[in-house]
């Protein structure tokens, strides 16, 4: 059942980045093949926590994040569903004076980007968010941030791309991709051969091999954030909760279930999937019960995890390849890709159509690691920096 498809663009990886790029490209009239080794949006894009937040991002991500910010409330118009997006606000808690100082410093650093952060002291916090217990020193509120349902948003972007005319090929892993005179040649599962002028590498945690195939090794590691979800409860958690210094994040969905994360999982026998550890799940549950008294006598009904690509500097790679014309990378979102992904999709489409994007992405070039590691032997892959995962 061998066949050859001719497309303007072949996208490797049907996560939220690849799917939103596919949709944007179709709207520009380009022909697209969107390939995924499994279901579109079934890995990190579909099973992540669902935070739609700008707060906490480094300044270099702000332009991109603000571009995505205006997309979220328009999901219904763009993909046909609102994806349960709620502009609830994102409240980042400080448990120590040092953490509060860190929140204040962050607010100063991003003051020019229009996040409208509100710093809240201990007493005001108690007054406005009485459902938060514990010795919380203060918090920073970003009222325009919120949360959404990843498993709906990501899969529906892919569906919208398909409805817009993209050739969406699921369960079609790309086994080989190479530069040929007229563009690229890709070999994929089920005997599918694709000829494309452009290739987008948006393969998430699996993007490293494709980058390496074009002589661009990157320090891409894997992380496995894990979460628990409670039974449905009366809605009390009115904002998306984060914590300076990490360790816990929580939101309550419309149906009433609370989703709480803050630990890391381990890969399963099938290394592409991961599962929370028992002790990790209980740690998250206990932290949630301590911080939110309303959860003390409730039950966790499930925990889960996903496989996510993480760069050593925790910034993604976005932009043209430095070795290969018309190859574009977009991966390594390091546990913070959900909010900006729809913006990245638009940027990728612009890069393909115009050769440049109106949104600055210079900070995300793939050769930044080569520059950092001058003197290391060519082609070597620096080891990902170990990061403390729980506190």
């Amino acid at each position: 059942m061998s066949r050859i498809l001719h497309k303007d663009v072949a996208i490797i990886g049907g996560g939220l980045v690849g799917s939103s790029a596919a949709l944007a490209l179709r709207r520009m009239g380009l022909s697209v093949a969107l390939l995924d080794k499994g279901f579109c949006g079934a890995q990190a894009s579909g099973v992540n926590y669902g935070g739609v937040r700008r707060q906490g991002r480094p300044p270099e991500q702000m332009a991109l994040s603000q571009r995505a910010h205006v997309i979220w409330p328009r999901l219904k118009e763009i993909i046909g569903i609102d994806g349960e997006f709620v502009r609830s606000g994102h409240l980042k808690l400080a448990r120590t004076e040092a953490e509060m100082a860190s929140l204040e410093a962050y607010a100063t650093r991003v003051a020019g980007f229009g996040l409208d952060l509100e710093l809240i002291g201990r007493n005001k916090l108690r007054e406005r968010f009485p459902w938060i217990a514990g010795d919380i020193v203060g918090a920073s509120l970003c009222a325009g941030d919120g949360h959404a349902n990843p498993r709906l948003v990501s899969a529906t972007f892919a569906l919208a791309a398909r409805r817009a005319g993209a050739e969406v090929l699921e369960h079609t892993p790309v086994s080989h991709v190479e530069r040929v005179p007229e563009g690229f040649h890709l070999s994929a599962g089920s005997g599918t051969e694709i000829r494309a002028r452009f290739v987008v590498n948006s393969a998430g945690a699996w993007a490293g091999t494709f980058a390496e195939a074009f002589g661009e090794p990157v320090p891409l590691g894997r992380i496995y954030p894990s979460m628990i979800v409670t039974e449905p409860l009366d809605v009390f958690m009115t904002v998306n909760i984060g914590a300076e210094g990490g360790g816990i994040y929580a939101r309550q969905v419309e149906r009433g279930n609370c989703i709480v994360g803050g630990m890391r999982a381990e890969p399963t026998v099938d290394l592409d999937f991961s599962r929370p550890t028992g002790s990790g799940a209980v740690t998250i549950m206990n932290r949630a019960a301590d911080l939110f008294p309303a959860l003390r006598n409730t039950y966790a009904i499930r925990c889960w995890s996903g496989t996510e690509g993480e760069m050593s500097d925790r910034n993604p790679v976005i932009g043209f390849s430095r070795t290969t014309p018309n190859l574009i990378h977009a991966f390594g979102f390091s546990g913070a890709g959900f909010q900006i992904a729809p913006g990245v999709g638009e940027v990728l489409a612009e890069l393909i159509r115009d050769g440049e994007s109106r949104t600055p992405i210079e900070a995300f070039t793939i050769d930044r690691f080569a520059r950092m590691d001058q003197g290391s032997p060519a082609g070597s892959v620096p080891e990902a920096r170990k990061r403390e995962t729980s506190k």
Binding site: A155, T230, E231, F273, R275, G278, V282, R296, I301, C303
Partner: protein, 458 residues
């Protein structure tokens, strides 16, 4: 030598007890974890509080087996580490997370025998969530364990040997059974005659249940197509079709089920390879006749390994116990193993007869109405699942879960996944195995957020 062996047995039903006994007899001290307060499993469940009922009242023709099993468990009690009312909620490598009494701890094991049993296979139809509707197994537990009937005028409905057994037990206990509604045609029961040679005891017992029900004036209907259970806050009646004609009967409780489904979540979490079992209409862990799975040191036996009934469960539990001994390099009774395997093979052949006599209601998946609830935890209708299948081109069960929430709630698909798989397969006219199975996630049953963690034990 046996000090290094620390087998963990999950479940203290016929399988778990026989496995434990086999290990104890070889001088090994297994850990036995069971969710119930007392051993016996569902089939030989014991009373919560002593009452005037004799074992014969409780277990009928199976009294001898029940008593023997309970006695065995009492006898080995001091030579096992027994954790009743405890839930194994996760398995990871050679360790299990066990919750009991508001605390959770990690138990390390050398070998793991999963004797997790089965629950009723539930197929939704209109009114199935009305208060007063129970599964057949649930109706049986209420009677055995608590000495109460699910209602004063009870209808039993479905397909499977349990249908007649539970109805008969209710009649024996003095309850009023308004009707037994068998979804299979009477002609299907003729298949049982084929089983008379291999398992005459089982077949004759089944005939006796049916005969006694009829003798006591309980109407037994065949070829029933359930239409709806009536009642707002409580069951008031049952409507069904029979040869195209509508029937209605007043009742205040309904017990129903369509055979059993294996509890396989722990095997899934432990990484066992699964195969599709056409007879059970379900994916189940791959295992050999001794219960060895694809994971070294992990065994599965009894109804949790594929539906075969209580007699097979005892044999398979013993066989799995021997498998642990064999794999640990200890000597085993080869002659006994040969007997166990021969008997197990005979029961497996007989299961085909039973499946023909108590067939799955093939028409259900295409005939059930869109507005009937499919997933009661998440309140997802049959229609929502069909729409996702049609409009979002969903063909796989985990994808259905992701897009519709089916199987995402408190029961984690233990109640709804069988029906959801049937609906999804029927929506595309694809074979049942093609829709796959839900990936298990811990905890396999809900766990309190404030549970205290004790860390590693033993």
């Amino acid at each position: 030598m046996s000090d290094a062996l620390r087998p963990l047995i999950v479940g203290a039903g016929p399988t778990g007890i026989r496995a434990a006994q086999t290990l104890v007899d070889a001088g090994i001290r297994p850990i036995v974890v069971d969710e119930a307060a007392a051993g016996g499993g569902q089939i030989y469940r014991q009373r919560l509080v002593p009452d005037e009922r004799t074992p014969r009242d409780l277990y009928g023709s199976e009294t001898g087996k029940a008593t023997a099993l309970h006695e065995t468990f009492a006898r080995i009690r001091d030579r096992i580490d027994y954790l009743p009312q405890a839930l194994v909620w996760n398995v990871q490598g050679k360790a299990a997370d066990v919750a009991a009494g508001g605390r959770t701890r990690r138990l390390n094991f050398s070998h793991l025998i999963l004797a997790t049993g089965a629950t009723d296979r539930v197929l939704p139809f209109r009114g199935w969530t009305t208060p007063g509707v129970f599964t057949l197994g649930g109706a049986q537990i209420a009677l055995k364990s608590q000495g109460c009937a699910i209602g004063e005028r009870v209808v039993f409905l479905g397909s499977g040997p349990l249908l007649y057994l539970v109805a008969w037990q209710y009649v024996k206990a003095g309850a009023r059974v308004a009707a037994v509604l068998d979804t299979a045609p009477f002609s299907s029961k003729l298949h049982l005659l084929r089983g008379l040679l291999s398992q005459p005891g089982v077949v004759l017992r089944g005939f006796r249940y049916a005969a006694e029900l009829m003798a006591r004036g309980v109407p037994v209907h065949f070829g029933v197509e359930p239409d709806q259970i009536e009642g707002e806050t409580r069951v008031t009646g049952m409507i069904w079709r029979e040869r195209g004609k509508e029937h209605r009967l007043a009742c205040d409780a309904v017990g129903y089920g369509f055979a059993l489904r294996s509890e396989t979540q722990l095997a899934d979490l432990a990484g066992c390879r699964f195969v599709f079992d056409g007879r059970d209409r379900a994916w189940r862990p791959e295992r050999d006749l001794a219960g060895r799975t694809s994971v070294s040191g992990l065994y599965i036996a009894g109804d949790g390994a594929g539906i075969a009934g209580a007699d097979a469960a005892e044999l398979a539990g013993e066989r799995a116990g021997f498998a642990v001994l064999e794999d640990a390099g200890l000597t085993v009774d080869r002659a006994r193993i040969a007997v166990l395997e021969r008997k197990l093979a005979a029961i497996q052949r007989f299961r085909d007869v039973l499946e023909a006599a108590f067939p799955f209601p093939d028409k259900w998946a295409n005939s059930v109405d869109d507005d009937v609830l499919l997933c009661r935890c998440e309140e997802i209708s049959i229609g929502q699942a069909r729409t996702a299948a049609r409009e979002q081109e969903v063909r796989e069960l985990n994808r259905l879960k992701a897009l519709t929430r089916v199987g995402m709630g408190r029961c984690q698909g233990r109640m709804c996944a069988s029906a959801a798989a049937e609906i999804l397969a029927a929506a595309h006219g694809q074979p049942l195995e093609a829709v796959g199975r839900l990936r298990a996630q811990p905890p396999i049953k809900p766990l309190p957020l404030g549970i205290a963690a004790d860390g590693e034990a033993a």
